[in-house]
Every structure is written in structure tokens, then in C-alpha cells.
């Protein structure tokens, strides 16, 4: 459905995107993670035909954003990170204008508009002025606008930014509905951990380069490298610490909050981990629990982008 090939965008000597390659199947929800200025919005702007790449190309449903932008626009619904609305235009007039802008006939627009407003829970705001809506409502209206021509692909740049928790939940529910409709959704967000459960694939971008791509679990497994193990100790805390310090696969050992817990980074495999536990039991270490510290997507993102920065 989406094929990005060697996509590069340069502004003078600054490279915003550096030979980005990405292939996405139809119907998936793709989360794009990256810090500010990493290249997410540039990628989305190129896909939305608002920017042309310096080199490379991107195909959406087989149509090139460089040579067939008019065709691409029919396939996509775009929601920018920052957008404004027209003053003195009512909600239904706003949608009617964009519907007409996509060449939808007046009779069809009359049917479509109430359906879209229902989808984004704005039916009761149909005759209100757009500029008087709250930020969350404007975001939902903008999403309805992006859907008016029934695009196959939705490109949503930070759709939840600036929203309060309730509005975020509402937005997430709408995106779930859209996913169930079979739309291919590209979404970038700073709150990706919150959205991770609905993303089929994640791409991590840093300094214009795609540094990881896959499903959430794969990325975590691929990129975590070292595990953080937490061991609960009944007594003889310092003796247990000395025991673990002797293992060559253990580093960054700490006593957590001066309680009966020891945490350390472990480089070994699962088999090595079994052997270590066995060794500890044979050495009569008073351990009553051993667990792997859960890392959420944000931690993974922070650690891998830190790694990319230092390269």
C-alpha cells in the first residue's frame, strides 16, 4: 500500500530525511516515533504531497507522490500537527466545503456529513461555528474532514497533541473504529506508548534515519539488548550483591532504594539466566524472587535514540 524508497529531503546543508526506506501493507496502523525534528513531519508532508523530496520517491497505492500528486491526494486523508479553521463557518459548512473540494456531489455530501459527525461524536455541534469549538472537538472535526472522500490511507501527524486525557481517549476510540474499517493509518505521536496497543507496526526515526521498524514486541526484543533484572533478597543483601558482581555478564548493579532488592543489567541468554539462578541456589543465596523489569515503548525509544545520538 505504501512504499517509500530512498526518500531524502535536504534544506541547504541540513538533511531532514536521509534515504528512508519503508514498506507498509494495506490495513495496518503504523506508528511513527521520533523526537522533535527527527523527520516525522517531513516524511508525512512528502506523503501528503505538500513537499517534494530532494531524491527518492514514495508510492501510495502505486501512485507516486512526485509524478502523480493529484492521484495521491485522492488516496489520502491528511491531518497536520498544527492547523487552523475558518472563522464564521459552521461545522456542516466546513465539511461541505472540503467535500466539494474533493469533488463530491452536493447530494452525496448531504448524506455523508451527518454520518461523519456521528463517527466523531459531533452530531450535536453541526450548526455551531467551527472557531468556537474546543481543541479536542476541532481535532475530531479535522479527522472527519480527512475522511470525507473515504481515503484508503490516513496520515495523522500528532493527532492527540494538546488534548486533555478525556479527548485523547475519545480520539483513540475513533482511531480504533477507523482501524476496524480497514483504513491504513500512519500516525505520529509523542504519546505513542498510549497508542502502542493499537499500532501493528512501529517505526523509530532519528536524525532523518529510520533506526528501527517492526511490531512493538519485535522492536523491544531487538533493541533492548540488555535486560534489567530485579532480584528480591530475604537477608544478607551485601553478600548477594558480591555474588552477582562476580558474574561477567552482569553490569550496573544497584541496591534499589536501600531495600531488599538488587537490580542489574544482564547480557546473557535465557539459558545463561537459568544457569545463573541455579548457581545462586547452589551457593545458598537467600533469593525469593527474580524478575525482568518491564520497559515500555517510551523507555525503548529513549534508549535507542540516545544510542543513535552517540553514534
Amino acid at each position: 500500500m505504501i512504499e517509500i524508497r530512498e526518500l531524502t529531503k535536504k534544506y541547504g546543508s541540513f538533511t531532514a530525511l536521509d534515504q528512508l526506506n519503508l514498506s507498509l501493507e494495506e490495513g495496518i496502523v503504523f506508528g511513527f516515533v521520533g523526537s522533535n525534528g527527527a523527520g516525522k513531519s517531513t516524511t508525512f508532508s512528502i506523503l501528503a504531497t505538500l513537499l517534494s523530496p530532494t531524491s527518492g520517491d514514495a508510492l501510495i497505492n502505486g501512485k507516486s507522490v512526485v509524478t502523480e500528486p493529484e492521484e495521491v491526494r485522492k488516496q489520502i486523508g491528511y491531518m497536520p500537527d498544527f492547523f487552523g479553521v475558518y472563522d464564521q463557518l459552521k461545522v456542516d459548512e466546513y465539511l461541505d466545503f472540503y467535500g466539494a473540494s474533493y469533488g463530491i456531489r452536493a447530494a452525496e455530501r448531504k448524506v455523508l456529513i451527518p454520518q461523519l459527525l456521528e463517527l466523531v461524536n459531533l452530531t450535536n455541534k453541526r450548526y455551531d461555528y467551527v472557531d468556537l469549538l474546543s481543541r479536542g472537538m476541532k481535532q475530531r472535526l479535522c479527522l472527519a474532514r480527512a475522511l470525507i472522500h473515504d481515503p484508503k490511507v490516513l496520515i495523522l501527524d500528532e493527532p492527540a497533541s494538546g488534548l486533555d486525557p478525556r479527548a485523547r481517549v475519545e480520539m483513540r476510540d475513533i482511531l480504533r473504529d477507523l482501524k476496524s474499517m480497514g483504513k491504513t493509518i500512519l500516525i505520529s505521536s509523542h504519546i505513542l506508548p498510549e497508542l502502542a496497543e493499537m499500532c501493528d507496526e512501529i517505526g523509530v526515526i532519528d536524525n532523518g534515519k529510520l533506526i528501527a521498524h517492526g511490531n512493538v514486541a519485535t522492536i523491544q526484543a531487538q533493541l533492548q539488548g540488555e535486560k534489567r533484572i530485579v532480584v528480591k533478597v530475604a537477608e544478607r543483601l551485601h553478600e548477594v550483591r558480591t555474588f552477582f558482581e562476580e558474574d561477567s555478564m552482569i553490569s550496573a548493579i544497584d541496591i534499589v532504594d536501600n531495600r531488599s532488592e538488587i537490580a542489574f543489567n544482564y547480557r546473557g541468554t535465557e539459558a545463561d539466566q537459568v544457569a545463573l539462578l541455579k548457581k545462586a541456589m547452589l551457593a545458598d543465596m537467600p533469593i525469593y524472587a527474580l524478575s525482568e523489569e518491564e520497559k515500555d515503548l517510551e523507555d525503548v525509544f529513549m534508549s535507542i535514540t540516545k544510542g543513535a545520538d552517540s553514534q
Binding site: A48, T49, R73, P80, Y86
Partner: protein, 281 residues
């Protein structure tokens, strides 16, 4: 059939324009200036001169001055309506969304231009009852009035196109506004200055046997004020022909130059609206 010619930007702009208080206040300002001018003129020529009547000669003079005043007002108002056409969308962060729709660049630019022109036409039409006062006193033919209004329209579209062009190529409305007013000062003022300058050179040259009449004709023919004078009083046009030796009527050159300005400005605006796309129309 109607759907085919439906321009969403034009309809939306008209809707927004007529909901705005600014538009009504602008219209009121325009009609007030024309009314004050006519009332003042009538008072000056009847009450204070002690004649108590209004001759056709005076009616013609009122028509002439009113035409120039109206042209000046149109030149003054047009940039404020068109110079923010695209840049204000950019400033309000609505442009990106508009550009991702399937509307062509031509449709967007034409929609923006025509909505402004439509409002200016409304202003001119709203001023017609005041303008038609001159018919009460005679001295002016309806065909003169029609030709003047047609040239108003050409001028409005040309200045409007310049405004839309600057609005597309500059990022800020204020810059676009300054550039458009600059163009008006050039067309209305600097061309007049050059006309007088080249005429002076021409007359000096005539005394010494040399001639530079083409430039004198050219500067006069692209000046809206000069055009209006030749339309109001064809004898002025004849005098210019006699002075420069170029037989082509001023209005023909004016029409050609202003149509070229319209075509050039709109082409630039359409090409630059989506500047980064290789396929643009």
C-alpha cells in the same frame, strides 16, 4: 451541469466575506466617500457660485472627477481584498489542508481572485445609483459609462491578480500588501511621472529635431488615470496621438498590457501555489 462549474473556494470565500463586518464597513466607507464627494460638488457648483442651477458642462465635469475618484478608490481597496488571499490562509494554518484536497491550483487561485473581484463589482454596482445622478443633468452618454465600467473591471482583475500573485509568493500578508501597493504606485504614479518626463524630453527633442514619442505613448497608455481621461474626453486621446504620432488608441494598448499582467500574475500564482510539486496545474 452546475456541479461542473462549482468552485468550492469561490463559494466559501463569498460566504465568509459577506458574513464579515469588515466587508460591510468597507462598502459603507466607499459609498460614503462617493456621496460626500457628489454632495460637495453639487453644493460648490450651485449654492456657493450663486447660480442656483447645474449645467450639463458641470455635470460632465462631475462625471469626470467622479470617475477618477472612483478609480482611485478601487485601486486603494483592491489590494486589501486580494493581497492576503493565500498568505492569510498560510498564516491561519489552513493552507496545507486546502492543498491536500483534489482541487487544482488553478481552481484555488481563480476562486480566490473571483471572490475578491465579485465584492469589488458589488461595490461598483452599489455606487451606480449615485453615479447615475449625472444622467439627471445630461452631458454623458451611457456607452461612455459602460466602457468606463468595463475598464474598471479590467483594472480590478489586473490589480487583483498582482495581489494574489504576491500573496502566493510571499509568506506574510503585510509583505504582500506592501508589494501590491508598490505595484499600484508604479502603475498609477510612476508611469505618470515618466510620461511627463518623456514628454518633456520629446518636446526638447522636437526642438532639436530628435524624437522619443514611443515611450511617452507607452507610459500614458499603461496609466489608469490617463486611460480614464481618454475615455471621458476622447479629445485628450486625440491630443496624445498628435503628440506621439502613434495612431493606436490608448485603450487598446492598455487592454493588451493589463491582460498580459493578468496572465503573467495568475500563471506565477498557479505555479507557485504548490511550489515543490513537479506536476502542477
Amino acid at each position: 451541469m452546475m456541479e461542473r462549474f462549482y468552485n468550492p473556494v469561490l463559494v466559501k470565500e463569498l460566504k465568509l466575506r459577506f458574513r464579515s463586518f469588515k466587508s460591510f464597513s468597507g462598502l459603507m466607507f466607499y459609498l460614503s466617500v462617493i456621496s460626500i464627494f457628489i454632495a460637495g460638488f453639487l453644493l460648490l457648483t450651485t449654492e456657493f457660485t450663486g447660480k442656483g442651477f447645474f449645467s450639463p458642462d458641470m455635470s460632465f465635469m462631475m462625471f469626470a472627477v467622479l470617475t477618477i475618484v472612483q478609480m482611485a478608490l478601487v485601486l486603494f481597496i483592491t489590494p486589501s481584498l486580494t493581497a492576503g488571499a493565500i498568505s492569510s490562509e498560510r498564516e491561519k494554518q489552513t493552507l496545507n489542508i486546502l492543498l491536500t484536497t483534489t482541487q487544482s491550483s488553478t481552481q484555488i487561485i481563480i476562486g480566490k481572485l473571483f471572490s475578491s473581484v465579485a465584492f469589488l463589482v458589488l461595490m461598483l454596482v452599489a455606487g451606480l445609483p449615485l453615479y447615475s445622478l449625472v444622467f439627471l443633468f445630461g452631458g454623458v452618454s451611457p456607452s461612455q459609462l459602460v466602457s468606463i465600467f468595463l475598464f474598471y473591471l479590467v483594472t480590478v482583475i489586473a490589480i487583483g491578480s498582482i495581489g494574489v500573485m504576491f500573496s502566493t509568493i510571499t509568506k506574510k500578508t503585510i509583505v504582500s500588501m506592501i508589494a501590491t501597493y508598490g505595484s499600484i504606485i508604479f502603475l498609477g504614479g510612476i508611469t505618470a511621472f515618466f510620461f511627463f518626463l518623456t514628454m518633456a524630453f520629446h518636446q526638447m527633442g522636437s526642438a532639436t529635431g530628435a524624437s522619443s514619442s514611443f515611450m511617452t505613448y507607452f507610459w500614458a497608455s499603461i496609466n489608469p488615470g490617463a486611460l480614464m481621461l481618454t475615455l471621458i474626453s476622447p479629445s485628450i486621446g486625440d491630443a496624445l496621438i498628435e503628440l506621439t504620432g502613434i495612431e493606436l488608441p490608448v485603450w487598446v494598448t492598455y487592454l493588451i498590457v493589463y491582460v498580459l499582467i493578468i496572465v503573467f500574475s495568475l500563471t506565477v500564482a498557479i505555479k507557485k501555489l504548490r511550489p515543490n510539486m513537479k506536476s502542477n496545474r
